[in-house]
Subunit: 348 residues, 2 copies
Amino acid sequence: MSKKLTVAVVGATGAVGREMLKTLHEREFPATEVRAFASARSAGIKVPFGERELTVEELKEDVFEGIDLAIFSAGGAASQKFSPHAAHAGCVVVDNSAAWRMDERCPLVVPEVNAGALNGHNGIIANPNCSTIQMVVALKPLHDAAKIKRVVVSTYQAVSGTGQKGIEELERQVRDLFNGRDPENNTYPYRIAFNCLPHIDVFLENDYTKEEMKMVHETVKIFNDPSVKVTATCVRVPVFYCHAESVNIETEKKMSARDARVMLSQAPGVRVFDNPRELMYPMPGYCVGDDFTFVGRIREDETIENGLNMWIVADNVRKGAALNAVQIAEELVQRELVRVTDKDIFMS
Amino acid sequence: MSKKLTVAVVGATGAVGREMLKTLHEREFPATEVRAFASARSAGIKVPFGERELTVEELKEDVFEGIDLAIFSAGGAASQKFSPHAAHAGCVVVDNSAAWRMDERCPLVVPEVNAGALNGHNGIIANPNCSTIQMVVALKPLHDAAKIKRVVVSTYQAVSGTGQKGIEELERQVRDLFNGRDPENNTYPYRIAFNCLPHIDVFLENDYTKEEMKMVHETVKIFNDPSVKVTATCVRVPVFYCHAESVNIETEKKMSARDARVMLSQAPGVRVFDNPRELMYPMPGYCVGDDFTFVGRIREDETIENGLNMWIVADNVRKGAALNAVQIAEELVQRELVRVTDKDIFMS
């Protein structure tokens, strides 16, 4: 490792930020230096990086000089404010928030699906929404083979999608209920313990939630194919880690469940876990900490000519966030794209 | 109340049996006598009926003489064995199991949807599956108005659908996990606490579960319309009571979300709970003990010409089982149908 490569994790104290540091270390990311940033409130805190600890530095506009690559998981507002300064300093940003995803200047990348979109990037690369990532990883090989026309998806999303405070809310509410105390709702508008909330992110004008519309728009952008139509219902369930998705697709060409299984078993990042006779199917409680997107319950849908049902599960904090961001960073290194060509494009 | 009407609850010690007794009492069912039956193991046990208690009698083939109406919730095997003897003795059976649902001799009834199917019954009337009941209650008015061609449904089903042992399993597993003990799986093949199981009832030849195919076939029978095509993915979630369903429909005629809301708000047994701006949507944790089928998150699906998404929640133990069975019994009384014409039809 001769070439200097300084990497920063921005938002290093959050659930995803910590997982990013863990993932960088586990995958032996070729950084010569790793730095951790967070808001002033968290500056000075130590965060683990392998055997070592990093001291969290305060995030400011002028900290990016000398940093080659910054992986952001600090929320949309912070990203909107600081990413342009990073790019201006020549630091390539991989951002986990929704701030840049639909920006035409920014590629939206899932390496197994559209790594090529990184070529000619402008300094900020967006990491898609967690529920989109696992869906497109599973659907890409089927789209390539049979062309997907329509997707009807219902999600079963874990509280870790809301970060550490979602995890703590579910845990506290369960404890309270089992101890005869009235559980408080601080993070979610209603109780999440032993309940399902058909409401993730804010409601939009069309009565869909922002989370649901992310799945619609991000899928089109990642597939670079406006002919793929997605309709989504996003639901929070009382599960700590891993999102599950019940996905119904209609394809242009006929594809049997068996063909889909074969195709998916050869696809990058996918594990087919589908043998009903042996009670084999993926479940959120059993995929925690895993890097793969698991697909099971693959069945032909007899209500249309070319239809399939399936059940997709992945760790929302790993593949849905930290891992995908680190994989993007790895692609950037491998493709020698850790450089910003137009340093002012986001500064106007 | 002059006319003699003896009613029996068969399987009176189970979760649904107890709810049936409670429901009969609450709704002041016009019985002159109520009796409780269960297997020999439970005979002698007392079960509450309003302020009173009933002593559970042992279920035998010859107990039905003098009983006018028996509501069964004793499982498929017991129903298959005992219901014909009840009918043979002139006792009309309303059965909650799957044993008779697809039998051509037996009407399958949700009173708000197809009470007329009771006319000319042969002595055994079947109560549909819990997840089917709430779906058809919500879809019937839309089907009448715009003709439903296709339904894609994903369920979020509570553990009480498995009876008392499902409730106890979730409770025990949560306690064990929160106390650092390894949770055991006795009722479900995998942990249900903080997990989702895409597996309800047994797997069939076509890789769908029996629960999923119940939704397909029962909907057609209740609507008496083989042109309604249903495809289902049934999932158990860590919730104690109330099933939720994410339902996507395609209709022949155009129907706006607003039209659907108006239509549903006038439909029997339905409550529209749908105002995203006020964070109003139905949730399993907040519908427990309620008799209505709640519908919210009604949105136009822009991926097809005439499509709607919605979110349907109902108490699976009430409307999904006990209440619907008691409502059938009420219809039988009101329509003066508490009589068996051909006492031998099920005895061959």
